[in-house]
């Protein structure tokens, strides 16, 4: 009943491997015989393209574009001529990129980290807790974390930093400048999309000075560092704070973390 494309898509989704689906969503009448509605291609990096849109040149162009979109983790609509020509409209496709889940690295194996692991898992993050102190960074203290690592933040980021991208997040919760500063400096050297650091206003001010002394650029810090971390929802407990941090991660990703965040009731404009 279901065929090879579904089986391979299913396999990739379950194993977390990147996969892209090209789906014909509109087709001009004169080419519908060659390229029926719902024709599809399945693309995976380094693997053979499955399926066909009915015309080899169209397959070549569409799969090339879909692989490029998969690399950037974006989905969207594209238009082609019947033989894959650009700037033509005979064929509309929807390209869906299924990419691996976003990563969250938490530096500091503290109580707030445990709550943050729990909330971030609800949002689908793959979560790593990293702390240089082996007594704190234990699997038993963070049962829901995907990984618990005993290492210094800067050394760990040297290793995994290149894999971090715009969908990923780094939260620095140690409260200790000797861990905080190298963690933040290390994270600024990556393309991570969200970087936040916990601390009171006072901690924040002192840490800011240390970061500048350590060579961080003020422009970089202002543009990228969310510190003190979290949205101002009045959180007190570790769990409430975790919700406030995750809400900020969502707000940064969706470009809403500028200026005052207000209840939807008190704003205007579109919600979605």
């Amino acid at each position: 009943m279901s065929g090879e494309i579904y089986q391979e898509l299913r396999h990739s989704l379950l194993s977390g491997e990147p996969v892209g689906l090209v789906l014909v969503t509109r087709v001009a009448d004169e080419v519908a015989a060659l390229t029926p509605l719902a024709s599809k291609l399945l693309v995976r990096p380094g693997a053979t393209v499955l399926g066909t849109l009915g015309e080899p040149e169209l397959d070549r162009v569409a799969s090339r574009d879909a692989l490029a979109m998969l690399e950037r983790g974006v989905s969207g609509t594209r238009h082609y001529g019947s033989r894959g020509e650009a700037r033509r409209e005979e064929i509309e496709v929807f390209v869906e990129s299924f990419v691996s889940p976003p990563k969250l690295i938490i530096f500091g194996a503290v109580d707030f980290s445990r709550a943050l692991v729990d909330v971030a898992k609800v949002l689908g993050f793959v979560v790593t807790v990293c702390d240089a102190r082996p007594v704190f960074a234990t699997r038993a203290r963070f049962p829901k974390a995907d990984e618990v690592v005993v290492d210094w933040p800067d050394r760990y980021l040297e290793q995994v930093g290149p894999s971090l991208g715009p969908r990923d997040a780094v939260c620095v919760l140690t409260h200790d400048t000797k861990f905080d500063v190298p963690a933040i400096i290390g994270a600024l050297a990556t393309n991570v999309g969200y970087l936040g650091a916990m601390g009171s206003r006072r901690t924040h001010d002192k840490r800011w000075e240390r970061l500048l002394e350590a060579g961080a650029s003020e422009d970089d810090l202002r543009a990228r560092l969310m510190s003190p971390i979290g949205l101002d929802v009045g959180a007190r407990t570790p769990e409430e704070t975790a919700v406030s941090i995750c809400a900020e991660i969502i707000a940064v990703r969706s470009g809403r973390a500028q200026g005052a965040m207000t209840p939807l009731r008190d704003g205007s404009g579109p919600i979605h």
Binding site: Y6, L13, L14, L37, A38, G76, T77, F94, E96, I271
Partner: protein, 104 residues
């Protein structure tokens, strides 16, 4: 799509035919982004969603017709004042779907 796989697997294992409805475009406001997927079995069972619950009932009807004819179709659900009783998104947007039999 991942969230509907286990349910779809169960239906397929029971020998049921399945239709997939996928959001392929949203105009203005829409509760689910393109890529949101809903599966409908030939018995009218549902997994996943394509809106906030506004149009799922109509999508089941479309999906059952698609299974009956075996032919994929594109359909859109919007909102306008002169269609006060038609199915639509209460948020004022339009959602475009492709509904197809899972035969690939």
């Amino acid at each position: 799509m991942k969230e509907i796989l286990s349910t779809v697997d169960n239906w397929l294992a029971e020998g049921k035919r399945v239709a997939i409805a996928r959001v392929i475009g949203v105009e203005q406001s829409g509760p689910r982004d393109p890529g949101a997927t809903m599966a409908v079995s030939e018995d009218g069972e549902v997994a996943g969603s394509v809106s906030g619950g506004c149009v799922e009932g109509a999508v089941v009807t479309e999906a059952l017709e698609v299974l009956a004819t075996g032919v994929a179709r594109r359909c859109s659900f919007g909102y306008s004042d002169d269609q006060a009783f038609a199915v639509g998104l209460t948020c004022g947007g339009t959602v475009h779907l492709l509904v197809e039999p899972l035969d690939w």
